[in-house]
């Protein structure tokens, strides 16, 4: 399978040497390889104090006493802020996306009510982290404990302990998308075949290699707060911090330095980070807090956590009649703010249909409070979960009908002529060729089949998906009442010395967007890539963006804005040169840093830049500064799509599932940098393999985290992830300037389904019982044992 980089935006083949589609090495790699990354903990510690967070060791209760006197007496301790002080200094942050029925609409950043193990209760500031931790241990907190409720089943039970007793229920709220329930039930009642199963996708942890971290400096003389934080969303942090501390937003600056991975976890202000800011302000000092891994595994927001009853109705010929997913989501102790609280459950529900046509389809989503750390945005944002349910149902249906699962998909898949298409849940699919991805994957898969041998069974499975990218039109946000701004802006500037700077609301989190944006800028402006600097992540210079790099929007929305802005600036530069050379702009050529007129006269780019900033030679009606800002509000969501295939080996003696081969056929529109695109796919697939086989956050019935170290929470290692063969179809998006779709989340969405389907193919005896993740050796062995297959 080769990577195809065919189409361009307007159907013309790309010009030779075009940077769009070029495998350019990343601009930041030299620096990172030399150890010259600048992550938040790398900032100099001169003048810096260090914070440690005091956290609850119990999952549910009330703080009834707090005594920091022993802590304050320790040499080197500068400050302790307890629950009462923090509550008086930190205002609750309003929640941007409510699920109907949700009564907790703002999130207290400091609370004397304890709702999860790891909840931050106090912050200690000292001369070093070690001393701060010594002091934290001396803080005495009295807690009146209450019974905890853990997991969705427990939260739903009639006599469940209540996370919010005043609400009388653990239900956060509920919503229904798609066709009315009665219409669905009518179809289910009479269909020739109904496949009906319960599925479980557990909580997982993001586990970026760099945990969270923040350095907050408060300067009393100017009433300013300067923050450096490992975050995806500096502008959102700025807003939330200002709100929490009761400051004007223009007194707060947030800078995201190099960020060591995020995957959706670093998309909001966390309570502990707010406490560090409060401490910095109280002291008038710079305070650093670096989350350690133990804290991250317990107190950083998690992802997934869904239990779903999925039903698929078909007619005797295998046509999809109806699909219903009854989704229950584990929200945790409170709705996570910037990451969306119940948002992922809702997106799960909106995207249930995938690339297929259903006569009727609907999802019902209910979110539940539990005594655990909140869940929120995690790469894939709910799409992995509903893809798992749907693609397993499709495979189960194929087995019952005795038909090839690829054939069943093909029969029901929307074709290119069917698009654009509005799903039953009202998602407007744009252009594409979903069967091409299916056929590409199936063709490749035909060569990949390997036989079972002895006690090793082998099988191949597929999963198809559509995904939201380029999130989202502001009108959609208004319609749903989601208070995140979703347009994005990119500014490109030719500096007085001729160098070119790009600022965008998008942020770098390791995905390489700086390189892709530089490629676009260079291509559209018509200058060498070396002239371009893409500077991201500083609220003082970056255009406003709430969402920045998440929801697969960096390239389409930020890059789409740049596509237009850079072209406009190119025309202006050419116009200035034409004016200077007294020639027709259309006749001016630009090569080797020089503008040339037909009569042989020439002027350098540098000279035009200088003159431009003088205001000379410009169109008198036009702008002066040599910069163009483009604000881009995408007209609609642009949908990526793919089919993935997996070939697995299942050891009947140990229950171990090995992914021996993995391939995918994917369309994310125009690919700017295939090196980066392929890397995003493999990285996403690796996380998907983790979800399928390895990862699970677990709690005791008392709410104590069980999987709090890397001995118990298993992340994919190299031996878990085979090389991934890839095909990129590149149907340009008609909604995005440049034709890009996003692809940062694509790799993670299908793997659990494809792998489960492969295991089912390998061991049909247990096929229908593969409904819960992860398919760990123990879980699989137990199914094998119950089927009489072990020895």
């Amino acid at each position: 399978m080769t990577v195809t980089t065919g189409a361009s935006v307007d159907g013309e083949p790309r010009p030779e040497g075009s940077l769009i589609g070029a495998r350019v090495h990343r601009v930041q790699d030299d620096r990172l390889l030399r150890g010259n990354g600048r992550y938040v903990d790398d900032l100099s510690d001169t003048g810096t104090l260090h914070a440690a967070v005091v956290r609850s060791g119990t999952a549910s209760g009330e703080v009834t006493g707090f005594d920091a006197s022993a802590a304050l007496a320790l040499d080197g301790v500068h400050l302790v802020l307890g629950p009462a002080e923090l509550a008086s200094q930190l205002r609750p942050v309003p929640h941007p996306w409510l699920i109907p029925g949700q009564q907790v609409t703002e999130v207290p950043l400091a609370d004397t009510t304890i709702r999860y193990v790891g909840q931050p209760l106090a912050v200690v500031v000292a001369t070093s982290r070690a001393v701060a931790e010594d002091a934290a241990e001396l803080v005495e907190i009295e807690v009146k404990e209450r019974d905890a409720v853990v997991g969705i089943a427990a939260a739903r039970a009639a006599d469940a302990p209540l996370v919010y007793p005043e609400l009388g229920t653990n239900k956060v709220g509920a919503i229904h998308f798609g066709d009315p329930a009665e219409e669905l039930e009518a179809v289910f009642a009479t269909a020739a075949l109904v496949v009906d199963h319960e599925f479980e996708v557990p909580r997982v942890g993001h586990n970026s290699l760099e945990p969270r971290g923040i350095v907050a400096e408060y300067i009393p003389a100017t009433d300013r707060l300067e923050i450096v934080s490992s975050t995806q969303v500096p502008h959102l942090i700025r807003q939330e911090v200002a709100h929490a501390l009761g400051m004007r937003v223009d007194r707060v600056r947030v800078v995201a330095p190099d960020v060591g991975g995020a995957f959706g976890q670093k998309t909001s202000l966390f309570p502990d980070e707010a406490m560090v800011c409060a401490a910095a302000r109280a002291l008038g000092r710079r305070v650093k807090w670096i989350e350690d891994r133990s804290e991250s595994m317990v107190a950083a927001y998690q992802g997934r956590g869904q239990r779903t009853r999925g039903r698929l109705a078909l007619d005797a010929d295998g046509r999809f009649l109806a699909l219903h997913l009854d989704i229950h989501g584990d929200l945790g102790a409170f709705p996570s703010t910037g990451t969306g609280g119940a948002g992922p459950f809702q997106v799960s529900g909106l995207m249930i249909e995938g690339p297929y046509r259903f006569e009727r389809a609907a999802s019902t989503i209910t979110a539940w409070y539990t005594n655990a750390v909140p869940t929120g945005a995690f790469r894939g944002y709910g799409m992995q979960e509903s893809c798992f349910v749907r693609e397993r149902l499709v495979d189960m249906a194929a087995r019952r009908l005795g038909v090839d699962p690829v054939e069943l998909r093909r029969k029901n898949m929307l074709g290119p002529a069917d698009l654009p298409f509005v799903t039953r849940t009202q998602m407007p699919y744009d252009n594409g060729d979903y069967p091409a991805a299916l056929n590409g994957a199936a063709r490749y898969g035909k060569e990949r089949a390997r036989p079972s041998e002895g006690r090793i069974r082998r099988g191949i499975g597929y999963a198809s998906m559509t995904e939201i990218t380029g999130y989202a039109p502001t009108a959609l946000q208004e319609m749903f009442g989601i208070h995140w701004s979703t347009y994005d802006s990119t500014r490109i500037r030719v500096n007085e010395d001729g160098t070119v700077t790009v600022h965008s609301g998008i942020t770098g989190i390791g995905q390489g967007i700086e390189t892709s944006l530089a490629q676009i800028a260079a291509e559209r402006l018509g200058v060498p890539m070396e002239w371009i600097s893409v500077d991201l992540g500083d609220t003082a210079v970056s255009p406003y963006s709430n969402m920045a790099s998440q929801a697969s929007r960096g390239l389409p929305v930020g890059g789409g804005a740049l596509w237009r802005a850079a072209d406009r600036l190119r025309l202006r530069m050419r116009g200035l040169a034409a004016s200077y050379l007294k020639a027709d702009p259309e006749s001016i050529t630009f090569e080797d840093g020089t503008f040339r007129a037909p009569d042989g006269s020439s002027v350098s780019w540098r000279e035009i830049a200088h003159r431009g900033w003088m205001g000379w030679g410009r169109d008198p009606e036009g702008p002066i500064a040599l910069e163009e800002l483009e604000e881009f509000d995408p007209p609609s969501i642009t949908y990526g799509y793919a089919t993935h295939g997996a070939q697995v080996a299942v050891d009947l003696d140990t229950g171990k599932v090995t992914v021996e081969d993995y391939w995918l056929s994917h369309d994310a529109g125009v690919v700017v940098n295939p090196l980066i695109a392929e890397g995003q796919m493999v990285g996403g697939v690796a996380m998907g393999i983790g979800a399928a086989l390895l990862e699970q956050v677990a709690y005791s019935p008392y709410g104590q985290p069980i999987t709090a170290t890397y001995l118990d929470y298993l992340l994919p290692l190299s031996e878990d992830v085979p090389d991934v063969a890839q095909e990129h179809l590149e149907t340009p998006s008609e909604l995005i300037p440049g034709g890009f779709k996003g692809l940062g989340e694509s790799g993670i969405i299908p793997p659990p389904a494809a792998i489960a389907n492969a295991v089912a193919a390998a061991v049909p005896e247990i096929a229908d019982r593969l409904t819960a993740l992860p398919m760990s050796p123990s879980a699989v062995w137990t199914l094998l044992d119950e089927a009489g297959l072990t020895r």
Binding site: S128, R129, A130, E133, D134, E137, D292, S294, D653, T654, G655, K656, L694, A698, I706, T707, T709, L711, D712, L714, L717, E719, D720, S776, P777, S778, W781, T782, D785, T790, R791
Partner: protein, 288 residues
């Protein structure tokens, strides 16, 4: 997290170590490889008043190979055993077990003494020590004693070593006349095993004359599997496999935890018995 405060000593002689242990007893922790102790310190689960660093103690890292045994000083690193041709020659099953411990970057520091005294029930070297019948040499300021491996391990993370004692040497018998092997089943290479098995048999006239078996990960300490051994004695290996697997499965009481049920661990042990019997059967056939 950062370690809690402690006082630190790095003595250069065994006598100095023993003096420190006598003075501080259970307020002292011994630092050898640090691959188990440092995580505990970093998570503040261990809070010694005093850390006694063994890494500069002279004479504690000797390797002596005799006709009967491989004698290893307590601070011998696992990585050096992996690379040492004398060990590959004289006790290959030790190399086999060691190569399954964590990753090369961990084995670079992990010591024989450390992994024995840390007594993780899923650890490879303790199981090998029990399987081979290693003799462990303990010294204190007041005396010395030799404890057979099978008596050394009490329960999870607990041995008979007293707070004022230092393990100075472990002698692993070479067991000439036996073919031996170690295997384990873990999630990935380097993860702690769900179950590990050492098996050694001597075959005379086609039947098992002597058998030694010990398992890791199936109890609160490494255990000798006498039922498995008994099922093999006096029989041809190939004929005894099924009974041996059943016997091993029946004589253990493995834990159920987040990683797997007791039944799962029993199943894995049965698989290991089958695998190792097949391997040893093949090597006894070859050596004829």
């Amino acid at each position: 997290m950062k370690p809690p405060p402690f006082d630190y000593y790095d003595p250069t002689s065994v006598d100095d170590v023993l003096a420190l242990l006598a003075e501080h007893t259970d307020g002292a922790s011994l630092l050898a490889g640090g691959q188990s102790l440092l995580p505990l310190l970093n998570m503040r689960l261990a809070r010694p008043e005093v850390l006694v660093d063994l890494n500069r103690v002279e004479g504690l890292d000797t390797i002596t190979v005799t006709a009967d045994a491989v004698e290893l000083g307590a601070t011998v690193r696992l990585a050096s055993l992996e690379r040492d041709p004398r060990i590959a020659d004289s006790l290959p099953v030790l190399v086999e077990a060691i190569s399954r411990v964590a990753h090369p970057q961990i084995r670079a520091r992990t010591t024989i003494g450390g992994t024995l005294c840390h007594a993780d029930p899923a650890a490879e070297v303790p199981a090998l020590a029990v399987g081979l019948g290693a003799q462990l040499h303990l010294r204190s300021r007041t005396g010395a004693r030799v404890v057979p491996a099978e008596e050394f391990f009490e329960t999870i993370f607990t041995t008979v070593r007293q707070p004022d004692e230092l393990l100075v040497r472990a002698d692993f018998p070479r067991r000439p006349g036996m073919v031996t092997a170690y295997d384990e089943i873990s999630r990935r290479h380097g993860d702690f095993p769900f179950a590990g098995l050492f098996l050694g048999v001597s075959v005379v006239d086609g039947v098992v004359a002597e058998a030694r078996a010990a398992a890791a990960g199936v109890a609160s300490r490494p255990v000798r599997l006498t039922g498995l051994e008994g099922a093999l004695l006096g029989r041809r290996l190939a004929d005894a496999v099924a009974d041996a697997a059943e016997a091993a499965s029946a004589e253990i009481d493995p834990p159920s935890d987040h990683h797997g049920s007791a039944a799962f661990r029993r199943g894995l042990l049965r698989t290991l018995v089958r695998r190792l019997c097949a391997r040893l059967d093949a090597s006894t056939q070859e050596s004829r």
